[in-house]
């Protein structure tokens, strides 16, 4: 029996492997340097991405906090020269308009989500496609759509017109979030309900929706955050109002609209009110966003 000896220089594969190892060993230092540099660049990009966030929050806070006093939250906007102005009418208007928008879009969104989660055919694909597209439509076009559909036909500006436009913005978000949440409910639950003889609607109402509720709430919060911050849909639909107006059939004021209008005024006290309103809107939306993320994280942990 001859001894088996390996001679790397004769075997092509082994010699190739040895050559690669040699190159790798000689270049490892250089590659490590490249790697360190590139990774630092990426981390630098991360820092660059965070700078605007810090900058804008601190700037708006610095400008807006001086405006926050008791009058700011309880008084309506006053003309230049009259003291003790506030944004109470804008806050109430935003609450009413966004509330109506949510009340209109949540049922449709949840039903749409159920539809998408329970069927997979071409109809569902078409609906999913249209919802995806609606999220990408420029909000100014939704604003002018609201104008011709609601304002021109009714004949006057109103809170309902604004709520209609905001609802169109919220709808796809709620529907996609509902679909995700409902798909996240284990099939076993649905099957168990059906096997007990319950109708599909009963299963949906008493099993699936309650189980998907945290995800649904997260989606609703995200949709509200998205809709509450939009300005363009409101510009041509609600008209604005310096007086207190809680009747959504009339022209109303809303926070984004108030910011847009009062920030361009040349009077310092009105500008300060605009910054205070900007801070208020930003804080509310940030809280909604962070809150929805915390809720999503908590539900993910609960599910494990």
């Amino acid at each position: 029996m001859s001894t088996i000896s390996f001679d790397s220089s004769l075997d092509p594969i082994l010699s190739r492997r040895a050559a690669i190892q040699k190159i790798a060993a000689s270049s490892i230092a250089r590659r490590k340097v490249y790697s360190k540099v590139a990774i630092s660049v990426c981390l630098l990009c991360l820092v660059v991405a965070l700078i605007p966030l810090v900058a804008i929050i601190t700037y708006v806070a610095a400008k807006g906090i001086p405006a926050w006093n008791a009058d700011f939250f309880t008084q309506v906007t006053k003309p230049e020269g009259i003291p003790n102005g506030g944004v109470w009418n804008a806050i109430v208007g935003s609450l009413i308009i966004d509330g109506i928008a949510v009340a209109a879009s949540v049922p449709f969104g949840i039903l749409g989500g159920l539809f998408l989660a329970e069927s997979d055919g071409p109809a569902a694909a078409a609906v999913r496609f249209s919802a995806d597209i609606l999220t990408g439509v420029p909000s100014i076009t939704i604003g002018i759509f609201g104008y011709i559909v609601w304002v021109k036909t009714v004949g006057s500006y109103s809170g309902f017109a604004g709520a209609f436009a905001i609802a169109i913005i919220m709808l796809p978000v709620i529907m996609r979030a509902a679909e995700t949440a409902i798909r996240g409910v284990p099939v076993t639950l649905r099957e168990a309900g059906l096997s007990l003889g319950a109708r599909r609607s009963t299963v949906a109402r008493r099993v699936v929706l309650p189980a998907a509720l945290p995800g649904l709430l997260t989606g609703v919060l995200l949709a509200v955050a998205r809709g509450a911050g939009e300005t363009a849909p409101l510009l041509f639909t609600i008209f604005g109002n310096q007086f207190f107006q809680a009747n959504p059939t009339k022209a109303m004021e809303a926070l984004p609209q108030a910011i847009y209008t009062y920030s361009s005024q040349p009077y310092n006290d009105l500008i300060q009110i605009a910054w205070g309103a900007a801070l208020l809107l930003m804080v509310v939306i940030l809280v909604l966003n962070v809150g929805s993320r915390l809720m999503a994280a908590r539900l993910r942990r609960e599910r494990r």
Partner: protein, 323 residues
């Protein structure tokens, strides 16, 4: 509850008699879903109805006419279309590299415990309302541009001929930068998710071969997430195309083709914001036509993006180029 047979004890809760028959339920859901499709169709139809008179009165040439002068019945929207494209290009050109770098950092490079909070922080950029971005850009960033950024840029890059004219602060460049900040969270969030979803076995294989971290990122992970990154890029573009209020506040609102990056310009959304209130007749139709063009382009871009992002999920194993 219409259970046939007797329910087992313990589950005999009375339900409301609102349980609808299954077929009604399916129809109800179908109607709710159909409302979305109907809404989109109604939307496009409404836009088109208002826009068609512009085409019938002016032909198609106003889409590339460069003279916007409604008082004398000149309705060329080219300056605004070009302005839209220019601001989008600036925004996306900045967002792609920085967004990719940030996404890589968030997916693989940052300290583990910081990843979730930092990701949330970057995504919070998307939560700032557009009007606040515009205000901040106008009041805080524009003076900075006027005094520092634009002079520096002009001294470094002035030879390109793109940076002529006075340093005004407001203008195309500022609008592009503000747009970049606004689309960055979209780019980062989706890129991070697709980068994190690259199959582990390929990553581990590369590491086993002795690749450095950067080599793994560059040769395995980024190519593996190629399609999803393309989707993120197109979504960011779609978002940048449609942004209205922030751009209108910082772009300077000129009706001419911008001769340089520092000059004032207009975009189609900012045109609509500033002239919709006073438009009537042909001008109104032209505005709707411009909105329709923007809508169609935005829909196309978004549809493309969704196709890319969805194909990542369906494709099973991403393809990898081995360098």
């Amino acid at each position: 509850m219409s259970i046939s047979g007797s329910p087992s004890p313990g589950t005999a809760r009375r339900t409301w008699r609102l349980a609808v028959p299954d077929r009604t339920y399916r129809i109800l859901l179908g109607v709710a879903g159909g409302i979305f499709a109907a809404l989109l169709i109604a939307f496009v139809v409404a836009m088109a109805t208002q826009a068609v008179p512009a085409f019938s009165k002016l032909g198609v040439s106003f889409l590339w006419g460069s003279n916007w002068d409604p008082a004398h019945n000149h309705f060329g929207v080219l300056p605004f279309a070009v302005g839209t494209i220019e601001t989008t290009v600036i925004a996306v050109a900045l967002a792609v590299p920085i967004g990719l770098g940030t996404a890589l950092a968030l997916a693989y490079l940052a300290p583990r415990r910081l990843r979730a909070p930092l990701s949330t922080a970057v995504e919070l950029l998307a939560a700032v309302p557009s009007v606040v971005y515009g205000l901040w850009g106008l009041v805080a960033v524009a003076p900075l541009f006027r005094t520092t950024v634009e002079p520096q840029l002009t001294s470094v890059l002035g030879w390109t001929g793109l940076l002529g004219g006075p340093n005004q602060g407001v203008g195309l460049l500022l609008a592009g930068v503000i747009l970049f900040i606004m689309v960055l969270p979209t780019m980062v969030a989706i890129s991070r998710d697709v980068l994190a979803a690259v199959p582990h076995d390929q990553v581990e294989g590369a590491m086993a071969l002795g690749a450095t971290r950067w080599q793994v990122l560059r040769k395995v992970i980024v190519p593996g997430a190629r399609v999803g990154l393309l989707g993120a890029f197109t979504l960011a573009t779609g978002r940048a195309l449609g942004e209205t209020v922030a751009v209108a506040l910082v772009i300077g609102n000129s009706a001419h083709l911008a001769p340089s990056l520092k000059a004032n310009a207009g975009t189609i959304p900012s045109l609509i914001v500033s002239s919709f209130g006073e438009a009537s007749g042909t001008q109104l139709n032209v505005l709707f036509a411009a909105a329709l063009v923007l809508l169609v382009v935005g829909i196309g871009v978004n549809a493309l993006a969704r196709v890319f992002v969805r194909s990542v999920k369906r494709s099973g194993a991403a393809s990898v180029t081995v360098a």
